[in-house]
Amino acid sequence: MTRRQFLSAATFIKALPGYKYEFPRDHFSHPEFQTEWWYYTGNLATQSGRRFGYELTFFRAALQPSIEQKSIWSTRDAYMAHLALTDVEGKQFFHAERLNRPGPGLAGVDLKSERIWNGNWSCHLTPNKHTLLATDQNFNINLALIPAKPHVIHGPNGVSQKGPNPGQASHYISFPRLTTQGQIQLSGITHQVQGNTWMDHEYFSSELDQNLAGWDWFSIQLDNSTELMLYRLRQKDGKSSPFSAGTFINEKGQTTHLALSDIQFTPQRLWKRYPVEWLIRIPSIGIELSAKPLLDNQELLSKSKLTPSYWEGAMQFTGSQSGRGYLEMTGYDDRVRFMPR
């Protein structure tokens, strides 16, 4: 452990078993943890069947555990956000990123006003509805998300373990199915859309284990009202880390933890460096799925050296069941890190 890691780990709280969740508090900010994100990904379509995928993500990264707030510009946390739209029919993929300090209210997370925002990208998160608004140069979205199932907490004992050491873990909450309705405006045309969204919220204070290169993460919403969350932590030697895991959510919203031994990940076709097609087998619950992207190019190519490029795209699943979802692949570009250091 480097000195810097030691210092930061010594002052931020780690994600440890036994954490007591409390809502709606835990849907919002946890400044005592170093890193936190709110991730919305969804598959939508118009009445006529024109399909879209979207991603709206808010990141918070503490630069240091505490600072003296001398000015409104004093910055403890940096806020990043990503916005992406997959236009399947038009074979187009748009994405944008932004970095802001809280400043006078440029970005932030606020329990009182139930908001998470970065400039004019925002989420209004109430107990029965999440409203997403985001404007970009090429498109904008205005979506109302209603939880079809309550949120779930991944991992045993309230922690999603990502490495061998205590604290190499996160607190990981998901809304596995949010019924979504709203508008996507693209090139001056407003599309009325509906579909499903997956939402992840994670907070933690440790970086990825030194042996890991990145991860491949799946959110799958099957047509039979069940969902799967799977992640494969990829070691530098190309093997799956034993801490790779998943969660199965049944129709009633009950979860089953899946260990690496339960899941078989088989990469199929490569697009650039990314395996965009997969075979997934979970024999214990009788699932065998073929995963294909709605569009190959769903790479969020970073313009800056400060942030990594990654692939995050809308997926189609067929096999034992059919469904839709999202795949995220990180660490193919460079070792993944979330914040400039």
Binding site: A78, R101, G105, L106, Q137, L306
Partner: protein
Amino acid sequence: MTWLFFRLILRPLWADKARTTTTLLSIALGVAVIFAMDLAGEAAAGSFKSSMETVSGQDDIEILATGGLPVDLLAQLSQLPYPLKFSPRIEDYALLANKRTVPLIGVDIFANALELESSGEPTQPVKPTERGVFTTASVGRKGETIWLQINDQPLSYKILGIIDSGQVSGDLVLMDVEDAEAVTNRRNRVDRILVSLPAAEKVNVDTWVDTLAKHVPAGASVRPIGARKEENRKMLAAFRWNLRVLSYIALMVGAFLIYNTISVSVVRRRAEIGIVRAVGATRQLMTFAFLAEALFFGVAGGGLGLVIGRILAEGAVKLVGLTVQALYVSSTAAPVEFDLAAAALSLGSGIAVSLLAALAPALEAGQIPPTEAMARGRIDTQLQQATPRHLVYAGVLLAIGAALCQLPPIVGKPFGGYLATLALIAAASLSSASLIQFGARHIASWGGVQSLLAGRSLAGALRRSSVLVAALATAIAMMTSVGIMVGSFRETMLTWIDRQIRADFYLRPAGDAAMDRHPTIAEEVATKIEALPGVVAVDRFRAYSIRYNGLPVTLAAGDVRAQMRYGRTSLKSGDMQDAIKSMLAGEAVIISEPFSEKHRVKVGDPITIPLGTGKPTFRIAGIFLDYSSENGYIILDHSIIKRYLPADEPSNLAIYTKPDVDRAALRTQIERSYAPRRIVVFENNSLRNEAIRIFDQTFAVTYALEAVAIFVAVMGVAGAMLALIIDRRREIGLIRFLGAAKQQVRGIILFEAAFIGLFSQILGVLSGSLLSLVLIFVINKQSFGWTIEFHAPVLALLSALAFVFVATVIAGLYPAKIATTLNPIEVLHEE
């Protein structure tokens, strides 16, 4: 025709090199000055770049307000559902260790981090723990620690990175908005919010300006980013216009010399013209031939002038830049560029003036009858008598000039005044012949035989001598009038300063001053000084550059109570007691005279001023005299501005002391109270000197222009005298033959030069004094709005005149030498 041009025009020009050269040079200098001033004016003021626009960003719209915008506005704007990028900017100036002032810009490093990172070498901007700056390459090297003075504080910073010179024009220091907020004391405020439109929307700037205007408070203004440039262009228009007019003086003097040269050509070649006419050349051909001579001077001289002008422009841009900085705005002079339009205009002016000046003599050449070929010896018979008709014409022109002075300005420009100037000069020129005749009869007779002969010969060659006198008189008139105007202005300003400056000490942050830069002094300094024994009051003065009707104006807040008790601001109009009372009540403001002239407002009028986020309306309670700003002042009481801009610190302090205080000791205490801040203390009299220094710096360009006009005129006199001598070889030979000594001949020539000098001075000073009235009361008043009291700077003028007189006599030395070397026998043999 070509042959004719060559034989009749070019060959004599070549034979008479001295006169040809001086005429050419005078045109060249005239054109050069016009061209140089135009180029320099454009570089220093026209292609004006506010020093704050050094960062050539992608921004399209700016939002700004007096005293800055609240940061909350940025937060609100950033959440509007528009695809726009809003960037906060704190803007100030930093003084470098080498005394250079560069813009200091505070930006949100975070919001720019992704863009900054994507271009150029990897820097590490997101490091809030490290205090550092980014600079241009000439300010320092990466990793180096530099010293900066910001407002009154000396600070040191580490250079974290070097800004790519391709992205900026001119030097600057850039830091994170958090640091900038702290050092500039802009608590929760930014100076501007810049808005960047997406590429597809760049054409709709005006629509977006209107959209955004609905989201900003009343006091804020939203406008396209180029607006500041337009505003400055507008602000500097009157200044540049007058500079341009002034630059035409040298060419006008040149016009007389052209006229002289062509008339001499015509007179001396009467015989040749007669012969050419006798063998069949038409009148028109003669006229054209001499116009062609003028054209030659215009083209050749003008071409040469462009070359000289381009070189002069480099020096002129510094002078003009100083004036612009002192009077108007901090600007970075753009590099001087060869401007084709300006070149064409200057060259065109040179040619047009040459042709116009040559028109009369060229027409006369056409009138010469063929019989003239036979009439040898009838040289220069015209205008042997100055006719009273010319004096009548002069009188009529004077009357017209006086009437023109009554005209109001047309589109803000004093055209009546300019025309009156021309009328005055024409009137003076028309009187020159009468003056010479009068002088030859009544003055020359006092100086003995040589003087008498000199006077006679001038009066006998009236058509040439009168033009010479007119040319020199014009230059002297210009010198006198501009001298009187500047002197009057200086004197008026000094009287005003003496009346105005009542405090014992004045404090302002160190660094060079500019009209639109208002660095501040920490409030704690003022408080500490207030507590010093011997100090009775500290008047805090705070200035802001604001815009009123699209023009820059200085808005200032002072302590009306302290002013009332200790100072003595007098009002030009309005009631002092009422002004004080209503200013304290927050109902009224007072404005400076140039402001009232420029914006056409008077006492009692309402005035709405953007102040912070508000836009309150006040009543104008008084107009005060002011000579420090052409843009004008609006002054309110300190307590009122605090309502809108609460956290502001003063930009100047005026300290009033007890009469019996030990000034030296108090000064030391004051200096101790602000250490280690960088503040300069002026005592009453040193502030006066500082004002004079700035004033003289402002008028440096005027002095330079005058010097060129005088130089052209004196040179013209030398050339013309030489021509005169050569024409009078026979006469001189005769005098020598009759027994005159060389010294006596030299005496005659020098007397002639002296008389030309003397008559020019009489005419020049007379018309110059009249001209100065036009400059002071018509042109200045209409273009700048200043009330200047007439004050002739007698001593300075006398010494300048003496200098010109001596120069004229010296100009006679060479012709005199030529005259004495003529061999009388040979000269007479020519007959």
